[in-house]
Amino acid sequence: MKSLADLQAIRDRMQKQINLRDTSDDHIRVVVGMATCGIAAGARPVLNAFLEEVDKRQLKNVSITQTGCIGVCRLEPIVEVYVPGQEKVTYVKMTPDKVPTIVSEHLVNGHVVAEYTIGAAE
């Protein structure tokens, strides 16, 4: 079983790389809608999948945040991706199995996954 003391080992490991996050110019923001509509539609496992992928790939230039209702409840779960210098991309009707593609194609390689965007759904 895990014990709280394990956190000290995580701390020691992360302190070596702590300045890598937040300081780079290519900082990408992933925002997940977590209002009643998003949660009911399945935003929790989507957010979890982003955390897992970003951790697995050790993407230090990506931050994942939560927001309230984005305003198009029927297309929830909704995820917005902000890449500096580019237009915001809105992914709709998200599921956990779409997440690895978006992380590898969009967040890592810079190619928007057009078929999952709001433009393709409308």
Partner: protein, 182 residues
């Protein structure tokens, strides 16, 4: 909502929107009665707003004139023969108590409390969250102030590696609590 833990995640967002810095989530399972109590020190509600808080056509947000979080929780509670109560004082905070008959066929499963708590911490790592799950005389307690002490000031609780560890930790503890009562 498909799980009680999703309701919890949802109403916690109300507390965070109310600028709470302290959240106490108590989950008590005593025989067939399951009680979920969320207490925050957010901005609270005026008596007028409190009187309308269970009405789906009440919301503080500006995107539209509806808010379904508390009405859906009330529905889930009352479907089982349980109830929802809200106490609030402006400038002090709010307490939401939902009681369920867990032996009722319409009672939602508790679901993944580990994911709910981990994502709550991820979304609001600066909030002091105390979670207590009591079941048949045993309890599991998680206090983010204690997590922060172990982790030190330089690493955020919201780091993916930390959050995923916390989620696994809670999952183990929750499973141990359930297993011990069988």
């Amino acid at each position: 909502m498909k799980e009680l833990s999703l309701h919890a995640l949802d109403i916690i967002q109300n507390s965070i929107a109310a600028k709470a810095t302290r959240l106490d989530l108590l989950l008590e399972e005593s025989g067939p009665i399951l009680t979920l109590t969320l207490t925050d020190n957010g901005c609270g509600m005026s008596p007028e707003l409190l009187a309308r808080a269970g009405d789906p056509f009440t919301t503080t947000r500006t995107t539209r004139k509806m808010g379904l979080g508390l009405p859906l929780l009330r529905l889930s509670a009352e479907m089982t023969g349980g109830s929802l109560s809200i106490d609030s004082r402006e400038g002090i905070g709010t307490r939401v108590t939902a009681a369920f008959r867990s032996d009722h066929i319409d009672c939602l499963p508790l679901g993944d409390m580990a994911a709910t708590l981990a994502l709550t911490i991820q979304g609001a790592p600066e909030v002091d969250l105390l979670y207590i799950h009591r079941k048949d005389g045993r309890e599991f307690r998680l206090d983010t102030r204690q997590l922060r002490r172990e982790l030190g000031a330089e690493v955020s609780l919201a780091e993916p590696e930390v959050i995923l560890w916390i989620q696994d930790y809670i999952r183990e503890q929750e499973e141990a609590l359930s297993a011990s009562s069988i």
